[in-house]
């Protein structure tokens, strides 16, 4: 009974994965809607001459927020680690 349930759930998962893979964007073709929009409208919408900067700080601001959080966590961890070691030895 348990074996049958395992095998059937495995088959369902495999079918779902294959269906998702088949529904993906066709391989090799650029997803033309988003990047064309950014290239055509970034300068007029954000006013930045540097389109990469306007993508990083405006259209994809969440990504930059995550990067900043990663840096913050790394600095916190390094400072905490070395400070704890210092107080232990002194």
């Amino acid at each position: 009974m348990r074996k049958i349930a395992t095998i059937s759930s495995l088959i369902i998962v495999v079918i779902l994965f294959v269906a998702c893979a088949l529904l993906l964007h066709p391989f090799g073709q650029p997803p033309a809607d988003m990047d064309d929009y950014i290239i055509n409208n970034a300068q007029g919408e954000t006013g930045a001459n540097n389109v990469v900067s306007s993508v990083v700080f405006d259209y994809r601001g969440y990504d930059t927020l995550g990067e900043a959080t990663i840096l913050f966590t790394a600095v916190t961890a390094v400072v905490m680690l070395f400070r704890a070691k210092k107080e232990e030895t002194v």
Binding site: N49, T64, L71
Partner: protein
């Protein structure tokens, strides 16, 4: 380090730091931005630490000051992100306003500085954060390896 290294460091450090600040402030016009310019600035600090003693650098650059600068940069970034909360998170509110509001003509142009809305301010915030964060990492590691007590 030797006298040659110290002399060259004295000569070049102002230019390295100034180039880092230039990359941060012109992030919305030229290639670069907060992260890249902050890394350049912090490499200048690392050069100072390598050439001179980390004890000597610590007199001018305390770790707790760097922590305060980094946290204020992060707060400034999130505050600017929340400034556009009436529309969406990270909405560029300052486009069209008197502060950084000018919109340049389409296509390549000679470079208008007073543009891009919230982006230069965010560049400055992220630049402060990266400068303080990377400098704090380098400074704390150097101090820890040279057996000096970190001044809180």
């Amino acid at each position: 380090m030797s006298k040659i290294v110290r002399t060259i460091t004295n000569l070049f450090t102002p230019f390295i730091l100034m180039f880092g600040l230039y990359v941060i402030i012109h992030g919305h016009i030229t290639p670069g931005g907060g992260f890249q310019g902050g890394a350049v600035f912090a490499s200048g600090i690392a050069l100072l630490i390598v050439a001179f003693n980390s004890k000597k650098v610590q007199k001018y650059l305390k770790e707790h000051h760097l922590s305060v600068i980094e946290s204020s940069g992060a707060l400034m970034f999130i505050g600017l992100a929340f400034a556009g909360f009436a529309t969406t998170f990270f909405f560029n509110v300052l486009v069209g306003s008197p502060i950084f509001g000018q919109i340049p003509p389409d296509g390549s142009n000679p470079g208008f500085i007073w543009t891009a809305g919230v982006i230069p301010l965010m560049n400055i915030a992220v630049g402060l954060k990266v400068i303080a964060g990377l400098s704090a990492i380098v400074l704390v590691m150097a101090l820890s390896s040279s057996n000096v007590r970190i001044e809180e």
